[in-house]
Symmetry: D2
Subunit: 338 residues, 4 copies
Amino acid sequence: MKNIGIIGGTGYTGRELARILSVHPEVRITAMTSRQNAGTEVSDLQPNLKGYVNLKFTENIPDSADVDLVFTATPHGASMKQIPSLMEQGIKTVDLSGDYRFKDRKVYEKWYGFEHTDPENIPKAVYGLPEFYRKEIADAALVANPGCYATSAILAITPLVNTGLVEGSIFVDGKSGTSGAGMNPSPRLHHPACGESVIPYGIGTHRHTPEIEAVVKDVTSEDADVFFVPHLIPIVRGILSTCYAGLTEETTQEDIDEVYEKFYGKEFFVKYTEEPSIRSVVASNHAEVSAKVRGKNAVAMCALDNLVKGASGQAVQCMNIMLGFKETLGIGTPGLGV
Amino acid sequence: MKNIGIIGGTGYTGRELARILSVHPEVRITAMTSRQNAGTEVSDLQPNLKGYVNLKFTENIPDSADVDLVFTATPHGASMKQIPSLMEQGIKTVDLSGDYRFKDRKVYEKWYGFEHTDPENIPKAVYGLPEFYRKEIADAALVANPGCYATSAILAITPLVNTGLVEGSIFVDGKSGTSGAGMNPSPRLHHPACGESVIPYGIGTHRHTPEIEAVVKDVTSEDADVFFVPHLIPIVRGILSTCYAGLTEETTQEDIDEVYEKFYGKEFFVKYTEEPSIRSVVASNHAEVSAKVRGKNAVAMCALDNLVKGASGQAVQCMNIMLGFKETLGIGTPGLGV
Amino acid sequence: MKNIGIIGGTGYTGRELARILSVHPEVRITAMTSRQNAGTEVSDLQPNLKGYVNLKFTENIPDSADVDLVFTATPHGASMKQIPSLMEQGIKTVDLSGDYRFKDRKVYEKWYGFEHTDPENIPKAVYGLPEFYRKEIADAALVANPGCYATSAILAITPLVNTGLVEGSIFVDGKSGTSGAGMNPSPRLHHPACGESVIPYGIGTHRHTPEIEAVVKDVTSEDADVFFVPHLIPIVRGILSTCYAGLTEETTQEDIDEVYEKFYGKEFFVKYTEEPSIRSVVASNHAEVSAKVRGKNAVAMCALDNLVKGASGQAVQCMNIMLGFKETLGIGTPGLGV
Amino acid sequence: MKNIGIIGGTGYTGRELARILSVHPEVRITAMTSRQNAGTEVSDLQPNLKGYVNLKFTENIPDSADVDLVFTATPHGASMKQIPSLMEQGIKTVDLSGDYRFKDRKVYEKWYGFEHTDPENIPKAVYGLPEFYRKEIADAALVANPGCYATSAILAITPLVNTGLVEGSIFVDGKSGTSGAGMNPSPRLHHPACGESVIPYGIGTHRHTPEIEAVVKDVTSEDADVFFVPHLIPIVRGILSTCYAGLTEETTQEDIDEVYEKFYGKEFFVKYTEEPSIRSVVASNHAEVSAKVRGKNAVAMCALDNLVKGASGQAVQCMNIMLGFKETLGIGTPGLGV
């Protein structure tokens, strides 16, 4: 049994980590932090965890927690305050914020608007998408867990870009359930405002844009010029990214199918399907990818649960790899289907 | 043409008033107030009103507005600060808060937790449910517009109580769309929290309880002991109240149908139907009522749009009566159906 | 007062026509047809119309209806059986199906899979998008009312295409409420299947694709190569189309704003806005369009109510023009906002 | 490892059984039947099971399946055709239909409208609510798995009725997600009809009424006169039952809390909470119960996932008991929370 700490245990990704880890057969949660709720029983705030997590929030991870690995489920800008000390102590860490996702500190600073205060640890960080960085994750001290939209767009378009056939911009139309926007009430997330609507936002300015571009480039060695428009959809969990691209020449559906099968045919969590379905993957760590060509146009899609494969489930997948467990341990369950 | 002022023009009931009045053939809105947004174009905040309301929010109603009637769409406790001056100036007023709904000031103070600072004008106030107080509204200087849950429960149970057959408590199970909770974001109204749930709240303590009891008693001269549990439902507009009661003796469905037909057969806005449907009335000033008996048990139901017949539409219905217009003017449109 | 007939009165567009026309000040519905429900009171099937439509469904439009104009709210393929006789009788007609939307019969036959049995009347048909064909509609004997997705995409991209700057395909990501799919229950529209999901369908094969291409070409004289992917969204009413295009050269937001303002600045029903909102237009005949450029990429969006501006409201707008009424008569009401 | 068969593998409860059992550590599914889909891969119809269930539907359970226990996830009336043969072969069975829930065959026949063709096996059947019939289930050859509404109402009101204080009828207001109505598309379950509505149905005539009455009576030896009105709510999964009762005398909240704690304090799956939350239990086998008294009125509530604790999860809980496993095996996971 390994001991796990969660820094930032009250947000949606923190509580989702606790939900998953509380029934993981090879780890136990020995610390969950929360400044505001230090001293409160975790299950008083998160009643679904009653009987599963018997722990009080603490302000910091106590020595007694004796942690083997820590998840930082903290906001962008807050993680880089926590990581240096964890690295110094030699504690393996999976960070769920955007702070260590960029090799190029300048890109981070431009899109996030913060100065990066821990540039030293940036080179250590491995991007936590196991389907593309499995080996690197196994040896990493620090994993930068991908963004939810980014995961879906990268899984959707990487095989397509890898063909070298994409010409011009890739237009990523992201459609996300509201839990992706976090737990803080706001006018946009107020039910009467969003409950019967579809709300585009952050047009061309969303921070996952450079993340998608950099990772696709890194994996394929091809440039990807991404134009990304996220939309809020009135569902609680789930993302569907619909990604459009023009091709330099016509290709057949069979060729495209072969490309994608080659990428994902052996993956347990990512399935190449005829039609991607949020219901099929919701509450699971699975993603469904599909791609279609029509003449010189292509569309690639990916459906996943933004809180699982798009955040905490993927973080646990990375943890499994980092701690030498079977990659699917504790997360190998099917989506709800209905 | 009469001139209308709206005090509190940014909340959901204020903007719904503007939506309705902006196309009313016999009135024009000459003032809308908002402390926070004074100086802002109304349609900048409420883009659906662009082309319909050409007005800036003002802090108070200016003399130049020359108002014939004012709606106070202000929070409970705030209306009673506004009404005395309006009454003094002889301006007819429809108040959408709970401040003047109770003849007995003590009941108000107990349930709302405020001291009533304008007891003097309480006796002037007429309860704004035209189906039961049409004549009194015609002569009123001040109308206390009913609560949304209260309207639906009162319309549902009054004919039943009037039979004198009800024994014991009446259990009112209220189910409301989220717009009924107002425009301020809160953890409960946050989409990820309420979007796939049904949330009971204020069990036995909701302020519409004594309102229902007092009005039913006033109309029927029978006591009504109401136990009310409201529930938040993940729809934007609409209330369905399901009201249960035991009877002193068995009665037939035919007898009950006759009772309700007698009450509502001539009403334009309230229809006695086989099965009440929110879709049938949504976006309209209509309500659908139905009642069923099974042996010595009865259930009475009412569906309405909480922002229209449950608030601003009914307020305009009262205005029409107070200003001598046809009661249906500007609000005689069918529900969406789909 | 003009007399109006509705052929196909039980589907969603037929009943929406009845909802709108029942309170139109210058017309009365004198006939609604339904084969299956002939003899039934309209309001027994559509309870929201009780008190508004006092009419029984008939199998055909009776002579006694003495109609001045007829709406054919019949399925694709069925309208072209009805129109010849109406044209012969000299009855002005607005057809809500796709049967007369294509000047080129071959395009229709290819995408709809039917042989066109009334090629003779195709040349008479005017495409019923008043913002672009107002004058032609005024003189038309037959109007082909646009498709819902098509209306939103055409309104979004026409000004952009008109600049001549678009290069390559235009990717139209359509997001529609479920009422757009009609009243027949099906596995895809079953609430447990679609209620918490986003469902892409008809990828690159949806029939509105050639409609968008043809109309944009006709209006702008520029080619538009459209790749269209519709998605089902779990809302009842509303469409948001997000349309992506690459540009031959960089342009400024100011230039684009000017282009759109020139197109829509004088239009009452189409508003050029910062951010298109379904809530702002729902239950109204309004559409909101916006456009953004980022370097050599552009996105144009349009929000509307699929049953109103996307179908029956627009049909009534055409009727107003055809019968010489003010264009906004009976449909000049703001969207719900909330 | 035990071998499990599922008769009726395509409906919602059948596929939910497969979802749960596919990751259960002590059983494997060796047969799933479907008349219509015999020969089809299970995961072709239910893509969420790809990688989890490698099996083709068969028309009947083949001998090669060598089953230790069978679930009959068949419609009411169909199960009693299957059970006799299973009983004869000595195969332990959990039936998810209503066919064996009633000791009194006459009650079944009255409410279900079928003649019971297998009265012989009725006495063998144990009602599959482990919290009340744990010991009997352990020894049962045949378990009649409870209805979803029934489970929630029984868990809510049994402790209250057991006090002997209830007077008059118990009014059960059921609110269910749409998956409770099964997989067959119908006008009521069509998204445009139910997606923004709350729909009462089967008023006083729902078949779970006598089930609730009989079980509560059996457990408490007190009569329970239940008046039940179910409502369809636009969520996919989840039931909240709000149950109202008058009391013969006033009691305190402390007394009621003690009563409920005594009933459920040691139960793992049923939690007595301050406020029942569907989000807290969704996708899990947990139920949350709460009860409040106000003077001589009481309200008892229960939230659960209709497909898990309300159907297939509870069936697996029974299976665990019948096969001598730990009761929580394979179903001891927390609800989603968000």
